[in-house]
């Protein structure tokens, strides 16, 4: 496809990724043929990446409102009220395709881009979370991508001075050619500093701040992000931008200082589609027009043509809308932070977006290089693409691995090796090799860092804290996208609840395959409905999101991968939350619906035994809500001494992680009425393990009963072995070693010179 459409004999609009019908729309709205610059601007602005043309009709179904939502989807970031005059800005974005082409810079610039979204709202970026997905770690190219992406996040995030406090790393062959690099950023702002991307005030000027504009990232949105990968994607490398964290650090400080001094009426970051997007969108949002002075744009190299200047995606640039009388003060502030600042545009009342080559030097009346209705660039086509349930969906769901596995591991079978194998799968194994490379402590807000269910960040100057988690489980979404979508939301909210946080806002990064495949659009639509149902049940508004389509390579789409970030609020944080470490002597209580023989899509079935298919665990939204509320209360009242979500690998893995963290073993008794192997490894949803001193265990059981949540005392912490009677008994030291050493051992397979 790529080879055909870039052939020189193709008409320009097709080379740029526009369809014939889209060109006809452009001609109709201009009532003439577009100039080359106009065509290039429409091509990037109407690309899938910028216009959401395939996803818009579905995204509208997300619930987005709640009393505490200040800014919902559609702005640079969502913003919620967290009390005491403080607000939290949050957003998540993908940088999948750039990271597949050049992992270090792809990941680095993904971090840079999301940070700009946050401080463009007037918020100080205080935390990053990085949900990452790669192929199998025993593949050398995967290790190259994995290590490159982690280095890029570390190199950029640490230097820009925003701590990376969480995220996840998942390994699954469906991402082998198409890794997923999602980045979430959280910012804090005093409510009154909130600023939107609006070019208010005719006569105000647009000031471009930051890096010089270069030829890097030309057409990144349309070339990289809006098409799949074929052989020869190395040729797309010039479309990957290069990051400069020092420039971004100074840009953060300069922009926040500028807002504190009330010198800007509107701010927008420059991301996909560069100047074309930032200048036209800010004007359109305020119902105004914009005249652009192309010659004023500071450039990295001579000889750049207007298309390159207007569509470059050079990093570390911001746009501020400034009153004319404040320009000198803005330039002085930029100079203090050693930031270049140039007046590149003027807000007009024409409603037109006009680009002039060099208005100062040209005779009056010289026609502009572009002259289009301001809103038309951001008002791209909307497609209701066909949906089709995949023909093999029934067969996939029928291939339940449960009976196979339970026949292979009947009651009485020794499951010790199964547990050790699960603990050593890279998705479950210890990821401190990753997060030790991230500064996760800067700003001294990190009360609970990476490695637990949720990160806890105190809110300076208050007793409150944020609990934050990111989650995704694509395999469930492939087996049943509607159920899978709900499960992803529930898991992230449950993780937040385990840290005592009441879930308040969700952002999503929708990583999907080719939207031109009806099966992919069906998955997309179903996932959105499942997510929406779960969000409604939890009173959890969606405040922002990002869609990444075309995650396919060599004709294979990735599993449908919605990744969500949930921010919860902890009302009183006077001490760190209990955490997952088992204390010796504690009773271990399983909260939540009874474990079912849910092995479809489980780590045990798929990763350890290579058995695909089946159905994901069933969802009971009311039971989930009741569990979350109970756990939040138990944590808030310090009624439990340890808490851990049962997720990947099921109950046995959750128990092993608690034992490793606490440095103490445990003995539990599998419940009757279910095959022991399913009890150990099924991933039935809405289950949480808590540990509590024996004297207080009855109180926990009582509270669960009062809340209508099933609670079973399954055993006790202690000793140096991890035992489920009749199922497995392993030395804690062996379990710990399997879990701790797996990832370092795999990455050490490469020789570093």
């Amino acid at each position: 496809m790529a080879a055909a459409s870039t052939a020189a004999d193709e008409p320009l609009h097709r080379q740029l990724g526009l369809t014939d019908a889209e060109l006809a729309d452009i001609v109709a709205l201009l009532d003439r043929d577009p100039t080359d610059l106009e065509l290039a601007m429409y091509a990037v602005m109407w690309s899938e990446h910028c216009s959401y043309k395939s996803s818009k009709v579905h995204l509208r179904r997300f619930p987005t409102e709640a009393p505490w939502v200040i800014v919902g989807p559609g702005e640079g970031a969502g913003v919620i009220d967290v009390g005491d005059g403080l607000a939290v800005a949050l957003r998540i974005e993908s940088h999948n395709h750039p990271s597949a082409v050049e992992p270090y810079q792809g990941a680095a610039t993904g971090v840079g881009g999301i940070i700009r979204d946050i401080f463009s709202m007037g918020a100080r970026p205080v935390a990053l979370l990085d949900p990452l997905r790669f192929g199998s770690l025993d593949d050398p190219r995967t290790r190259f991508l994995f290590e490159g992406v982690v280095s890029g996040i570390s190199g950029y995030g640490n230097a820009v001075g925003v701590p990376t406090v969480g995220g996840e790393v998942v390994f699954d062959d469906c991402y082998r050619e198409n890794p997923l690099v999602n980045v979430m950023c959280i910012g804090l702002l005093p409510r009154e500093r909130l600023v939107l991307a609006r070019a208010e005030g005719v006569g105000n000027v647009a000031v471009l701040l930051g890096s010089a504009t270069g030829r890097d990232g030309i057409g990144g949105a349309s070339v990289l992000a809006s098409a799949g990968f074929e052989e020869g994607s190395e040729a797309k490398r010039p479309s990957v931008q290069v990051g400069d964290p020092f420039e971004e650090k100074r840009l953060i400080e300069a922009c926040l200082a500028l807002l504190d001094a009330r010198l800007a009426v509107g701010v927008q970051d420059l991301g996909a589609a560069g100047l074309s997007c930032a200048l036209s969108e800010t004007a359109a949002a305020a119902g105004n027009g914009m005249d652009v002075d192309l010659a004023a744009v500071h450039r990295r190299e001579p000889g750049m043509n207007p298309v390159e200047v207007m569509t470059s995606e050079s990093q570390e640039r911001m746009l501020a809308i400034v009153r004319p009388e404040d320009v000198d003060a803005v330039l002085a502030l930029a100079a203090r932070w050693e930031i270049t600042a140039r007046v590149v545009g003027r807000v007009t009342d024409t409603g037109r977006f006009r680009v002039f080559a060099d208005p100062g030097a040209e005779p009056t009346g010289t026609p502009p290089l572009a002259d289009v209705p301001c809103g038309s660039l951001g008002d791209g086509p909307v497609y209701e693409r066909p949906l089709a349930r995949p023909a093999d969906q029934d067969a996939l769901q029928a291939a339940d691995p449960g009976p196979v596995l339970l026949a292979r591991f009947p009651a009485g079978a020794d499951l010790a090796d199964e547990l050790l194998a699960l603990l050593a799968t890279p998705t479950i194994a210890d990821k401190s090799w990753v997060w030790r490379q991230y500064d996760h402590q800067l700003f001294c807000n990190t009360v609970a860092g990476p490695g637990g269910d949720a990160t806890v960040l105190r809110l300076p100057g208050t007793r409150r804290a944020l609990a934050v988690a990111t989650d995704g489980k694509a395999r469930f979404c492939r087996l049943d996208p509607r159920v899978g979508g709900a499960l992803v939301v529930l898991e992230a909210a449950r993780n937040v609840a385990c840290a005592g946080g009441v879930p308040k806002a969700l952002v999503n990064c929708m990583n999907f395959g080719n939207p031109e495949h009806p099966e992919v659009m069906w998955q997309f639509s179903e996932v959105i409905d499942g997510m929406s149902d779960a969000c409604r049940a939890l009173d959890l508004p969606v405040v922002g999101g990002n869609v990444s389509f075309y995650n396919e390579s060599r004709g294979r789409n990735i599993d449908p991968t919605p990744v969500v970030g949930v921010v919860g609020l902890v009302e009183h944080l006077d001490a760190p939350p209990p955490g997952i470490g088992l204390p010796a002597g504690a009773r271990i209580v399983l909260l939540g619906p009874a474990t079912a023989e849910d092995l479809g899509g489980s780590e045990w079935a798929f990763t350890v035994h290579g058995l695909d298919g089946g159905r994901p665990p069933a969802v009971d939204l009311a039971a989930a809500r009741a569990l979350h509320d109970l756990v939040i209360g138990l944590v808030a009242d310090r009624a439990v001494d340890a808490v851990h979500d049962c997720g990947d690998g099921g109950l046995a893995v959750a128990l092993a992680e608690m034992a490793c963290a606490g440095g103490v073993g445990a003995t539990v008794v599998p419940e009757p009425g279910i095959a022991p192997a399913a009890w150990c490894f099924a991933e039935s949803t809405s289950r949480v393990l808590v540990a509590v001193a024996p004297a207080r265990a009855a109180a926990v059981l009582d509270r669960a009963a009062a809340a209508g949540v099933r609670a079973v005392d399954i055993g006790v912490a202690g000793g140096d072995r991890l035992t489920a009677e009749g199922a497995f008994s392993v030395l804690l030291a062996d379990a710990h070693a399997a879990w701790r050493d797996a990832v370092p051992a795999l990455v050490a397979a490469d020789v570093h010179v």
């Binding site: 001075g161 020092f246 650090k249 800067l442 001294c444 001490a575």
Partner: protein, 230 residues
């Protein structure tokens, strides 16, 4: 009156507010000093905090040493005032010649952010005065270039003159002689790779960094009373 600490900010510095907070929760006062400033009047101690001053471009600390404020830091140190460089600040002080040795990339070539145990080697530095030698402190590290090195003569002198302030219990980065912190001969200028300001409050984990910051505030208070830091 509580000691007043000047916290130097270069473009790219990022730990300045954490140091201010750490000092303040321990009862001190702290103010930011811009790298373009040329005076440190009224301060009882100076901290050069962590981060990536001038982007760490060229080499860590290599550009920062030329910022105007560094002449004032030199004078402040020469007058006997306590000066502490944390992480990137340590790198800057070595580049500026205020401390011996240099910091190179970690053995293993990875950034490391974790809490490590450090043993107090001397109680004569501005950061450890009054802290018992042999005390083990759990302190956060956060660096790519923390691998301390110097020539054999310098190392011998550091040992002879009691200039090694902290040693890692388990060396995380390949530092020569497990060195985590050194001082100048007088003991008033100290550089350390761990971040005591990140361990100043119990809610964040072991608050062992407070031990060092309290010692610094006590030293600063004493030097303020004797008026010996021009």
């Amino acid at each position: 009156m509580s000691a007043r600490v000047g916290v130097v900010v270069f473009p790219g510095t990022n730990c300045e507010h954490d140091v201010v907070r750490g000092v303040e929760v321990l009862g001190g006062r702290a103010d930011l000093v811009w790298h373009g400033d040329r005076a440190l009047d009224g301060f009882d101690a100076v901290v050069v905090p962590g981060g990536f001053a001038h982007g760490d471009y060229l080499r860590t600390g290599a550009i920062a040493r030329f910022s105007p404020v560094m002449e004032a830091v030199q004078r402040f140190a020469a007058a006997g005032g306590p000066v502490v460089g944390i992480c990137n600040g340590f790198q800057i002080l070595t580049e500026a010649g205020l401390l011996p040795g240099a910091l190179q990339k970690n053995a293993g070539l990875k950034f490391r952010c974790e809490t490590v145990a450090c043993r107090v080697v001397t109680d004569r530095s501005a950061l450890t005065r009054g802290v018992s030698t042999g005390t083990v402190l759990d302190l956060p590290i956060n660096h790519f270039e923390g691998n301390y090195t110097c020539d054999p003569e310098t190392l011998a002198r550091l040992r002879d003159l009691d200039q090694i302030v902290l040693r890692y219990v388990e060396n995380p980065n390949g530092s020569l002689d497990d060195i985590a912190s050194v001082s100048n001969e007088a003991g008033n200028v100290v550089g350390l790779m761990p971040h005591p300001e990140r361990a100043a409050e119990a809610i964040l984990g072991p608050a062992d960094g407070a031990v060092l910051l309290r010692a610094l505030l006590a030293t600063a208070g004493a030097s303020a009373r004797s008026g010996d830091n021009g």
